[in-house]
Amino acid sequence: MDDGEKKEEWKWKKIGEELERERKSMQKTWRSRSRSSESRGGGGEGEGEGEGEGEDEGKWAGKVLRECAKAISERDSKKTQHLMWMLNEVATPYGEGEQKVAWYFLQALFCRATQSGERCYKTLTAVGRKNESFEAARSLILKFQEVSPWTTFGHVASNGAILEAFEGEGKLHIIDVSNTLCTQWPTLLEALATRNDETPQLKLSVLALPLPVPSSLIKEVGQRMEKFARLMGVPFQFNVISAFSQITKEALGLQDDEAIAVNCVGAFRRVQVQERDNLILSFKSLSPKVVTVVEEEADFSISTQEDFLKCFHECLKFYTLYFEMLEESFPPTSNERLMLERECSRSIIRVLACCGGDCCEIRERGVQWSQRLTNAPFSPTPFSDDVLDDVKALLKRYQPGCWSLLLSPPSGIYLTWKDQPVVWASAWKP
């Protein structure tokens, strides 16, 4: 071995040692951070986390992730690598809340850094689809509704608004563009059957999201709905809509004596940003009595590359809340929660790492949707006191202290989780 090689070797050794040292220090940092989360206010060591850390000492994931995102947007590959590596050490989808958030966002950031977002998304989706079935979907949705009002909030508000708009009508037709797989409708059917002396007939045309929903799945759902309606004694008809383009008077076969309602839950965000106004216009063309819109409250719109960081922050904030909500609502070992978290991971990747393409999950805030709807033009109708009472009664049935209702005139109400608005529900009239 000559001198040159020795030198090389020594150099590499040095680099190795240096890396080792850095690794150890990072681990120490992380350990101290998580330790300090246990001993609140115990003051984690070093790193000048001082400012405003008080209650955030345990929330290391957000900080590191933000750093990482910043590094990516600045194209600082060394720092990116370091941070990613460090996150990788401590993140896991099976750990506690912070670790989960770290894991899923790390995955998304990695995809972004390596430009593999689309591919990763497709793989994850395929895997998810493989394990899907009616039973799985059903148990997932119903269990989620049982432990958390995240979805049922929108259902109760929308159903209330729809029932009031349909007061006195004999032929009802609801256009359901949503991701609920019709879990919203049994309570509406029951209300129709019991509230009125004369039970009206109901036609339900459903465009199930996210597209494409396997046709067998939607058919199964449809048959269940038909059976249940029969049980309730409500004359019922179920139609399947297969595309947004079919939302027209002719394609849906709307009749003049029908009272129309459009129910749009978790659907707008799945529409291409530039198509959203068109969709609203198509709703208007149906001359509905009421349009109910329910969306999650977050703003993921990225108009330019520079907004990536802003979008990232939003995304992180929203999903941290969501994960926290899931963690506290579900029992500790819950398969359903894992499924929901995985669904989130796909969404996160889609938002952060997929640029364009036909996959889309850009959320907007209630005020933004309101703006779009007002431009249609639609005018907002406030929820009646009865409906609000129903919603409040609903929230009472869940975990006390975490959930509450926030009124937001002129349009809509918010469901709040620990005082953070998370879901927005509203009703509109043409």
Binding site: R138, T187, S216
Partner: protein, 583 residues
């Protein structure tokens, strides 16, 4: 003579005119002649009774006791108890000799034809506090209350007595024109009743439950509701309990038990549940794209053709993923008019990308598709298949879908089978069914669960079972004899060694066997099998809610264990040979 003194104490003696020479003042007793005593006693008794009656009225105002309690056999004890009462009371000069008989209530909906019909205006009906004190303007609901209040103002007051003449019964009609109780023939006999009715039906609902936000017009209704709100539990047919109505409703709409129930309800309406070969053939013939299957199917219907079945007999498309139609139930519906509906709904058969994971709605073909589907779904491990057993009782396509939809589930066979076993276990318990088989349903299912977890991907299951079809031929008589037991009888000497194949195999097995049996034996067996389901259904209330899980299991699951057992004996994942060895 204490009677007299008591009377005198209350000044009653003063009112009694007659031959007696009672002193008008003071309770000094004096001697009375016999006759005088007699008369006196009669009138005394009468007045005592009046006093009692009077006291009743007063008491009922003051203390909410029923009148009857105050009708004493011993009025004087009553008198003494209200001894402190003022002496200014007026007495009723027309006493009744006996306590009035208890008021009879007419049967609901049949007002007394002699009754006086009273029509009050809405204002009067809704009026509370009609009686106002002129001094302080305090309102009272009853005149009696006002009178008592007036005493406090030292105003003259008079309490109304009970009327002495026979009171004419009053009935009230609702002032609302469109109401059914506006008609005197449907009048209500009670003033409070008509008031409540008017509020409930035509009034504004001012009272609201804060738990479920249900509204009430009458306060007492609301109070009664808040006491029970939230305490009521809802039980689904599948056995799950809910404390919340909304989650119960949503669950029920998607529950498998509902699908089964509806299936059984539809089976009630079907009159012909046989698989007449001609009928079956025609139905199958009408199926699209099942040429190969048809041949086999028709072969199936022929008893003698059964032995041809087996891996070779079935010219099925073993890779028929593109035709996965969970038409399991269709063979059941061959006599069922509902089948046509299924055809219409499920005319679109294509979902190739979905693969075996999703069972699309049934087409109306019978057996062939079942076979195909079974083949197509190598993994029969889905427990939901077991749930489809309930479909046996004449379900329509939905149930079949429901069971088959998770056929594609992988790796969950064991656990889910066990779960289903417990479901059926409980359902079996709920039912009054008599498992006449040697092995109980529960035991069979549990056995299945034990054996079931490993047999997941065996495409030859089907072929095996088909070959097996022949076996029952010798035992069909036993099937005839015993509905539920029939399947178990089939077990015969075969223990449930291949129970796993049952649990994993699709219901098609059951149905194939059923069909086979039907063909061999057809009507009696099938009808009996279904009859069981039917009678269980007929006793359930429509919603099936209050019946709890009682009827839930119904006839369907009853069969399942039997069928399972049957298949255990017949089906073998190892192929035909194993079966032949069992023979």
């Amino acid at each position: 003579m204490h009677k007299y003194s008591s009377l005198a104490l209350f000044g009653i003696g003063r009112c009694i005119k007659g031959p007696s020479t009672l002193p008008s003042s003071g309770p000094t007793p004096c001697s009375l002649t016999e006759t005088e005593t007699e008369t006196f006693e009669t009138s005394l008794f009468a007045s005592a009774h009046c006093l009692a009656t009077l006291s009743n009225i007063v008491y009922s105002q003051l203390f909410p006791l029923s009148n009857m309690q105050m009708m004493p056999g011993d009025p004087f004890s009553l008198s003494t108890s209200i001894g402190g009462f003022t002496q200014e009371q007026n007495t009723n000069p027309n006493p009744k000799p006996n306590p009035p008989p208890k008021k009879k209530r007419n049967l609901p909906g049949t007002p007394d034809p002699d009754a006086e019909v009273i029509a009050l205006s809405p204002k009067t009906l809704m009026a509370t506090n009609r009686f106002i004190c002129e001094i302080c303007n305090k309102g009272f609901q009853r005149d009696q209350n006002l009178q008592l209040h007036r005493r406090g103002h030292n105003l003259p007051w008079k309490l109304r007595q009970r009327s002495n003449k026979e009171v004419r019964k009053k009935v009230y009609i609702c002032p609302e024109q469109s109401c059914v109780h506006h008609d005197p023939a449907r009048a209500l006999g009670d003033l409070t009743g008509i008031k409540k009715h008017f509020s409930r039906k035509h009034g504004e609902k001012k009272w609201k439950c804060d738990k479920c936000s249900k509204k009430y017009a009458v306060q007492s209704d609301w109070k009664a509701h808040t006491k029970t709100c939230g305490t009521r539990e809802y039980k689904c047919d599948c056995g799950t309990l809910f404390s919340r109505k909304d989650s119960f409703i949503t669950h029920r709409a998607f529950c498998d038990a509902l699908a089964e129930e509806s299936a059984r309800l539809t089976s009630v309406t079907t009159t012909n549940l046989n698989f007449k070969s001609e009928e079956g053939a025609s139905v199958m013939n009408s199926q699209h794209g099942l040429g190969r299957g048809l041949i086999s199917a028709q072969g199936l219907q022929n008893v003698s053709g059964i032995p041809q079945f087996g891996p070779h007999g079935f010219r099925l498309d073993f890779n028929g993923m593109e035709q996965q139609r969970p038409s399991l139930s269709l063979w059941l519906n061959q006599g069922n008019p509902h089948m046509n509906n299924n055809n219409n709904i499920n005319s679109n058969n294509s979902a190739p990308d979905v693969g075996p994971n999703y069972m699309s709605s049934c087409s109306s073909s019978g057996l062939p598709e079942i076979v195909q589907m079974a083949q197509a779904n190598a993994l029969m491990g889905s427990s939901s298949m077991v749930s489809n057993f309930g479909v046996l009782a004449g379900s329509n396509s939905t149930s079949a879908n429901l069971s088959l939809s998770s056929l594609g589930k992988r790796g969950e066979a064991g656990g889910t089978v066990v779960d289903l076993a417990s479901i059926y276990h409980s359902e079996g318990q709920n039912n009054n069914s008599k498992p006449a088989s040697p092995m109980s349903a529960t035991a069979l299912l549990q056995k299945a669960a034990q054996m079931g977890s490993t047999r997941s991907t065996n495409p030859s299951i089907f072929s095996g079972s088909f070959g097996v079809m022949n076996s029952p031929s010798s035992q069909t008589t036993s099937l005839n004899n015993n509905n539920n037991g029939g399947a178990a009888m089939m077990l015969g000497s075969n223990t449930a060694t291949d129970f796993s194949s049952l649990t994993h195999s699709s219901n098609s097995f059951d149905q194939l066997v059923m069909q086979t049996n039907g063909q061999l034996q057809s009507e009696p067996v099938k009808l009996k099998l279904h009859a069981n389901a039917v009678e269980h259904n007929l006793t359930r209330d429509f919603l099936g809610v209050s019946g709890g899980g009682g009827g839930g299991g119904g006839g369907g699951p009853q069969f399942l264990p039997q069928e399972l057992a049957k298949f255990a004996s017949m089906g073998s994942p190892m192929g035909l040979s194993q079966f032949t060895s069992n023979r």
